[in-house]
Amino acid sequence: MPKVKVKRTAPSLDMTPMVDLFFLLVTFFMLTATARPDEAVIVDTPSSASEIKIPDTNVITITVDKNDRVFFGVDGQQTKEALLDRIAKNYNIGFTEEERKTFSLLSNFGVPINQLKGYLAMESNDRKEVNQPGIPVDSARNELGDWVLQTRLTNPKVVIAIKGDQDVSYPTVKRVMDILQEKKVDRFNLITDMEMKPTN
């Protein structure tokens, strides 16, 4: 009886389709990805059943963190450069080309205008570490109002969104809303997390 010889083959498998699929996915993610901007503070927003999405562009984000600090952010590099020029003119501060460039790349910040130059001069890693005091909102030094007003003059299409932490005390948020109303902004958005809509 002849012995049946088992043919030994190397257990190699064809990976071509797998590679194809992977590169397809890589391409997809690369094209759809918008890198998460690094925020100056992390806030835990309250949740709501609202289903409106925030627009992608032309948004001013006013962030209020747990310690009642106010941060200001706007998108669009050109907007930010033009905004800084306007602020510089109003406050008689000169900004160098490099500082303008740095500013146009910031996603948000929370320093008073007189400290802005020092903040922009920092290395980007130091900027993350530094403890930002927040933008002054009291009536004597209402810088937030100026930022909002100048941004709206620069880019009239902007929508204003308030991103507050759950535990922020109400008067701080009220103060921000009052500043917006002083600047004749009566319509704004509150950024919230998603929550299931109740079914009753």
């Binding site: 609202s50 999405k53 922020v168 005390s169 009220k174 009566d186 509150l190």
Partner: protein, 174 residues
């Protein structure tokens, strides 16, 4: 298979110099590794869900208080947001010493009040939201959310008056 058979190069002068048959199979494992790494990277850095937002229209600031129309007591409802996630409401105006009821943000709390026929059947019913200084931002968003869920159209954010605080203190006692 990604494999091409190479034809042996035969011929040529000077004897038989045979090229060795070699398959052009390449090991794709590193390629797969790299692709998987990139997928992971992009998947983690992508922000999938955009944050939700709630639109809010604030009433215009009126310079001249005489131009405002007084609200009738039968059309008024006030929700007071207190400290420690407390919530109180009353119908009517503060001057008439109304009864203050304690409620909650839960689905069987203020939502049922807003859905009750007293509010729903009256088209002119205006809900005034008065947050105390000690309330937190989450409370405001929660109550706006409730108003939205119950489809209450007429509401306003109003600053809390001393009379409201006094009412709460007298009747609830804190």
């Amino acid at each position: 298979m990604a494999e091409m058979q190479q034809k042996a190069d035969s011929g040529g002068k000077g004897g038989k110099k045979r090229a060795k048959r070699q398959s052009t199979k390449i090991d794709m494992t590193p390629l797969v590794d790299l692709a998987a790494l990139l997928i992971t990277f992009f998947m983690l850095t992508t922000t999938f869900n955009k944050p939700q937002t709630m639109e809010i229209n604030m009433p215009k600031k009126v310079d001249n208080p005489e131009e405002q129309i007084a609200l009738k007591a039968s059309n008024a409802m006030t929700i007071i947001l207190g400290p420690d996630d407390d919530l109180y409401y009353y119908f009517g105006l503060a001057e008439d010493n109304p009864e203050i009821v304690e409620s909650s943000y839960a689905s069987n709390g203020i939502r049922q009040v807003l859905l009750s026929s007293k509010v729903k059947s009256n088209d002119m019913m205006t809900v005034m939201v008065k947050p105390m200084e000690s309330s937190r931002y989450k409370n405001v968003v929660d109550i706006l959310d409730e108003l939205k869920i119950t489809d209450t159209k007429r509401f306003a954010m109003v600053e809390i008056a001393e009379s409201d605080k006094k009412l709460v203190q007298e009747q609830i006692g804190n």
